[in-house]
Amino acid sequence: MALMDNYLPLLVFFAFGILVPVGTIIFIRLIAPRGEYPRKHIPYECGWLPIGTAKIRFNVEYYTYAIVFLIFDVEALFLYPWAVSYKNPLITVPNFTLIACIEMFLFIVILLIGYVYAWKKGALEWIR
């Protein structure tokens, strides 16, 4: 039974998680007025009448921004394990800090070259 005790809060959580939305839906069904009129099929945009269709093309600039962001965002991932193991006393490799330092320096220089390239190519400017 110990297992059940451990999982009891979780069970309660799940039960509530299911009960609340289902209950709300049923409650709304019970009390909401029903009616069919054309305005009901218009997408809701903050209470205003929508302008144009929702299926428009987005500016391609978003795409280049997203790409540049994605690259730098993911590359930052490597900084964390590096930072954790940099001064780790358990690592007994000779000259470890020096090597780690040089490696991270090279890594950042390479990223920087990419950044300079994107900048000079105008990927960071918003052209309309």
Partner: protein, 100 residues
């Protein structure tokens, strides 16, 4: 601790979903999403095995593969964008100049 078998089953399920998506998708974006799923199923495996063997290198491997997946996605979307410029759609059925 969750048995490693369960995680393996999860990873294989995700991989199978990815393969199914790859085979059935008509849209290039959807194919890219399926590839991401497949790569991530391998990541699940790596992290689970890393925990199981009590060895850090699996997690490092997963980190590298996440970064590589991002780089791959960027290249893939760039190619899809060029296809969109040429064809006005990213439907893979329209990509059929080269055959036999």
């Amino acid at each position: 601790m969750i048995p490693v078998m369960y995680v393996l089953a999860l990873a294989m399920t995700v991989f199978a979903i990815g393969v199914f998506g790859m085979v059935s998708a008509r849209s290039g974006i959807r194919m890219m999403m399926s590839i991401e799923l497949m790569l991530n199923s391998a990541n699940i495996n790596l992290v689970a095995f890393s925990n199981y063997h009590d060895d850090i290198s699996g997690q490092v491997f997963a980190l590298f593969s996440i970064a590589l997946a991002a780089a791959e996605a960027v290249v893939g979307f760039a190619i899809l964008l060029m296809i969109f410029r040429h064809k006005g759609a990213i439907n893979v059925d329209t990509i059929n100049i080269l055959r036999w």
